[in-house]
Each structure stands twice: as structure tokens, then as C-alpha cells.
């Protein structure tokens, strides 16, 4: 039997919804699990329970052969051999960068410790700032120091709480790619809390959607975004088409991507690898009868309506354009267009509505 972490915990707070979390994580081969949910959904509390900083009321946490919590046992954070990265990094202001990274390496000799610190600093491209204090660093550098500190003592589980949320948007896109490569390279089982779909797609093998105090759906991020189990999940994740695509060319910020034989135009933020997820929010898809004529939308796709389902004032329309695509339109639009199953339509969206997210280099671990 492959090693696994199994979590099944309950925790209640006075005056708030009870939190119930049930999920698993493959440790060998090491997988990356995304805890996805809106703020206040309890995902950080789940992470704190995994870290031993918060005590669940009932249930258990088993990490391979170790029991971390089961009502009687509650292993200390120290005993769990973790690497934690906190939302605001929690770097020690009294220590230098090197001091922060070396902080948890007490078990090593002085030489071993020095070598390990140098190794980790090199891995995260932090050479040259070893002697600086955290306050002297940029946000991106602080983020890397926090990560360096977390991985320095070779943890058996990495816990990352909104690892990119404290960065500004342009930095975030770049660091997201770096983090993805790093997590792959490290091969440490990880749990990443986020409410950003780009992070979820880029980093995750598995994704657990948390809403209303409970785990609503578990699956690969692509699966969850494309096929939310029910309206509750759809409300949490938004309706998103996430497709595997290949970048054909990228000139002056405009990229040409191929998805299942169909060519799309997208804005590319940075140099982006050939393998990407192509994400299109259902709200950004405009439907028309026949050809849409000349518009400013760079993408016009011929397709067929395969599904129409009501979501209150809005209607979710499933299309087949050579690949599955979702559109969300108002009920009156459905009436005006007289949409029905099997009807040919043109779906258009601007290049700016087609988002590219770097895809993990390896096939996701099921």
C-alpha cells in the first residue's frame, strides 16, 4: 500500500459554522494538494490542525505510519517534522537571512549547517543577501527566504498558506512559475492553501474545495474547474474552462495557443513554457448566431450547444467547439437567441480573456 496522509477532522468555533475536513494525500509518490476556498472558509484552520498549532475536536490525522492526532494523541508541531510557510512569512526580525534559514537546523554540526544553508540559499537564488535582515528585502525575496527556511531541514510535509498572496501581481505570476519548478524538484508532499485558481492549476496535483465548513469536492484542479460537482462548488471555484494547450508562438505579449486542434489568441504575461493550461471564465464568453462579423474579439469559435442549465438569473451553456467550453449568459439572452441543444453558435472572447497558466511538467499524479 502506498504511503498516504489521511485527514478526517472536526472543529467548531462558537458562533460559526462547524468545520469538517476529510481528504487524503499521497506521500509516495509525493503529491501536492490544494486547499481551495474563499477567505473565512476554514482552509487556514485545516492547515493549522495539520501543523499541530490547533487541536481538532474529533477525528484523526494519520501521516503514513505516524498518528499525529486521534483524540488521545496530539503530536506537537516540533514532532511532525514540517516545513511551514505562513501567509505573511513570519520571518524572524532578530535574525539575518542566513540566520532565519539556519534556525531549525539545530541537530546538525556547524559545518553541516553552513553547507545546508548555502545549498538552500543557492537553490532559491538568495546568494548575496545572506547577511541582510528580513526588513531590508523585497517582497519576492522575503517569500523566497520563508520558503528556504521551510525546506532547509528537509521536512516530510510542506504546508504553504497562501504562498503568493503577499506579492504584487506581476511578481506573483513570475514566482508562481518558480514555485512550481521548485516543488517538483523537491518532491516533498505538500498542502497549499489558496483562493487563486491560477495557483491551484499551476501547483496542484489534487485539489480539495472547501466551502460552508466542509470539503465539497476532491479531484485534479482541472477536473474540479471544468466539472464542478454541484452548484455549491461552482459558486466557490467560479465556472472555468481549463484546457491543456500548447503555445505555438509568442510575439510582443500576444500568444498563439493550440487547444485540441483549435487555435486561440491569448495575452502572455512572461516567457511561458509550451505546455499550458488555457483558462477561460464562462462570464467572458459571448454567444452569437452564425458568424459574429468583425469585432474586437480575437477569438471566434464555431460550436454547438450541448447543454443548457439554469443557475437562477443566469444560465450556464455548455458548448462543443472541438473542445468543451462553458458560457454563462442571462436568461433573456437565451430567449433572444432562442438557444437550444444542438444549435450552432459562435462563441467569441477577447485575447485578454484567455488566460495561460504554466502546466506542471510531469503528468499529474492521480
Amino acid at each position: 500500500m502506498a504511503a498516504e496522509m489521511i485527514v478526517d477532522i472536526t472543529k467548531s468555533f462558537p458562533g460559526r459554522l462547524m468545520l469538517e475536513a476529510r481528504f487524503g494525500l499521497s506521500l509516495d509518490p509525493p503529491a501536492i494538494l490544494i486547499l481551495f476556498g474563499p477567505s473565512g472558509s476554514g482552509k487556514t484552520t485545516v492547515l493549522r490542525c495539520l501543523a499541530g498549532l490547533e487541536r481538532p475536536e474529533r477525528g484523526f490525522i494519520r501521516f503514513g505510519a505516524e498518528t499525529w492526532f486521534d483524540g488521545q494523541v496530539n503530536a506537537t508541531p516540533q514532532a511532525r517534522r514540517l516545513g511551514c510557510m505562513f501567509q505573511d512569512y513570519a520571518l524572524f526580525p532578530t535574525e539575518t537571512v542566513a540566520g532565519n534559514v539556519a534556525y531549525g537546523l539545530a541537530g546538525l554540526t556547524q559545518n553541516e549547517r553552513k553547507a545546508r544553508v548555502e545549498e538552500v540559499l543557492a537553490l532559491l537564488q538568495l546568494q548575496g543577501v545572506e547577511a541582510m535582515r528580513p526588513a531590508q528585502l523585497s517582497g519576492g525575496q522575503q517569500q523566497r527566504v520563508a520558503l528556504a527556511r521551510a525546506i532547509a531541514r528537509r521536512p516530510q510535509l510542506l504546508l504553504l498558506d497562501e504562498p503568493l498572496s503577499a506579492l504584487d501581481a506581476p511578481t506573483r505570476a513570475r514566482v508562481r512559475g518558480e514555485l512550481r519548478h521548485l516543488l517538483k524538484q523537491l518532491a516533498i508532499p505538500s498542502v497549499v492553501v489558496t483562493h487563486d485558481w491560477g495557483e491551484a492549476l499551476a501547483l496542484g496535483d489534487q485539489m480539495a474545495v472547501i466551502g460552508d465548513g466542509t470539503v465539497l469536492q476532491v479531484g485534479t484542479p482541472q477536473e474540479v474547474f471544468n466539472r464542478p460537482k454541484d452548484a455549491d462548488v461552482a459558486r466557490v471555484v467560479g465556472i472555468e474552462t481549463a484546457l491543456e494547450g500548447q503555445v505555438r508562438e509568442s510575439i510582443e505579449g500576444l500568444a498563439t495557443v493550440e487547444v485540441a486542434g483549435v487555435t486561440l489568441h491569448a495575452l502572455a504575461e512572461d516567457e511561458i513554457g509550451p505546455d499550458v493550461f488555457v483558462c477561460i471564465r464562462a462570464e467572458d464568453v459571448v454567444l452569437a448566431h452564425g458568424a459574429a462579423g468583425t469585432t474586437s474579439a480575437r477569438n471566434q469559435l464555431q460550436g454547438r450547444v450541448v447543454d443548457i442549465s439554469s443557475m437562477g438569473a443566469l444560465v450556464k451553456v455548455g458548448l462543443d467547439c472541438g473542445f468543451p467550453l462553458f458560457a454563462v449568459v442571462t436568461r433573456s439572452a437565451v430567449e433572444d437567441l432562442r438557444l437550444s441543444r444542438g444549435m450552432p453558435v459562435t462563441a467569441s472572447m477577447k485575447a485578454g480573456a484567455v488566460h495561460l497558466v504554466p502546466r506542471r511538467d510531469a503528468t499529474p499524479i492521480a
Binding site: 498549532l53 511532525r80 511551514c84 513570519a90 524572524f92 534556525y103 531549525g104
Partner: protein
Amino acid sequence: MNWIAIGVTFKLAALTALALVVIGLPIAYWVSFSRWRWKFLVESVVALPLVLPPTVLGFYILVAIGPHSPVGRLYTDLVGHPLPFTFEGLLIASILYSLPFAVQPFAAAFDQVDRRLIEASWTLGVSRIGTFVKLILPMSIAGVVTGFVLSFAHTLGEFGVVLMVGGNIEGVTRTVSIDIYDEVQALNYAGAAKTAVLLLVVSYVILLAVYAINRKVWAVWPQK
């Protein structure tokens, strides 16, 4: 000037302040980090010497360490002489009398340490004691120095407790403040003035140091 009394006073103040670092840090740690709902009971006991008349405190200490109490009898059996009216007895009384002047600045400094940093330290595998030594203490150093200096200064000016517990034994328990009182009783105002000026200057310099370290309002009462 009575150099013997000055020597006794500074020795007493230094030993009291040192003892309060050793005793006060664990108490302050507990006060700052405990989530026990009746914690305020202990906090109030620690703060009691701030409001209690020194004679009342001195009276109870005298009774507690006297030959009729279990503590006093144990001490007499072990050492061979009773505690009251000795330097050791005076030291114990001074430690109790200055307890809030050490514990409160310590606890106020611990309160300022971001709990997330402490949790980060724990998740890095560093024990609670290790976290205290490596993280909490360096981050609270201004508060620890303040507590040390204030308990030192407070012990320098002790009068009521010293008189009750220490008596007035030259070279053993006669401190500067009692010496000043004796000089005034003997109508030797010139002698009293010299010693008083010394105490005034030393106290002022100590407070200057405290304010320079903290650069903010008087830290004796933590603002929670």
C-alpha cells in the same frame, strides 16, 4: 557618608535584581502565555506589593520566615540561625517587594512578541524552551533590561520592609534609606543631605537609562 550602608544597599539591590531575572522570567512567561481563565488571580498577587504598605508586607514576611513558621523552622534547622534580621532574610523580602517591578516589564515585552513568530519557531522543530531562548528573549531584551534596572532601583530606596524584616544592623541590614533616617533623627542634616543626593542622582541616572532603552512611556504597567 556611610560607605558601609551604601555597600550593603548596592549589594542587596544587585542580588535582588539578579534573583528577579531568574524568578521573574518564568513567572512573566506564564503570565503572558497562559490561557487559563483565572490567570488574573495570579497577576493580582504579583502586583500586590505595588499597593500594599511596605510595613504590611514586611510584617507578613517577618511572620512567614520567623521561628514560629514551618519555613522559618526549616531554615533554622538547616543553617543554624533564624532568618529575620539577617541579610538573607532581607534579600528574600526585597525579592518579594520588587517582584512586580521585574515581572510586569518582562510580561509586557513578551506580550509584544508576535505569536506567529513563536509558532513558526515551533514548526521548525525548536522546543518551547529553545524558542524562548532563541527568539522570545532576544525580541524582549529591552523589557528584560527595564525589569532588571527597575527592580534594582526600587530595592535601593526600600525603607519600610527593610526596617520590619532587616532591623538596623550596621554592615548587615542597615541600608542607605535607613541611614538617612537615622542621620535626620540625630539632627545631622549635612550627613543626611550627602547620602540623599547620592540616592537621588543614582535613581535619576537609572531612570534615564530605562527611558532611553524604551523611548516610550513608563513601562511598569503593561498596557494590554
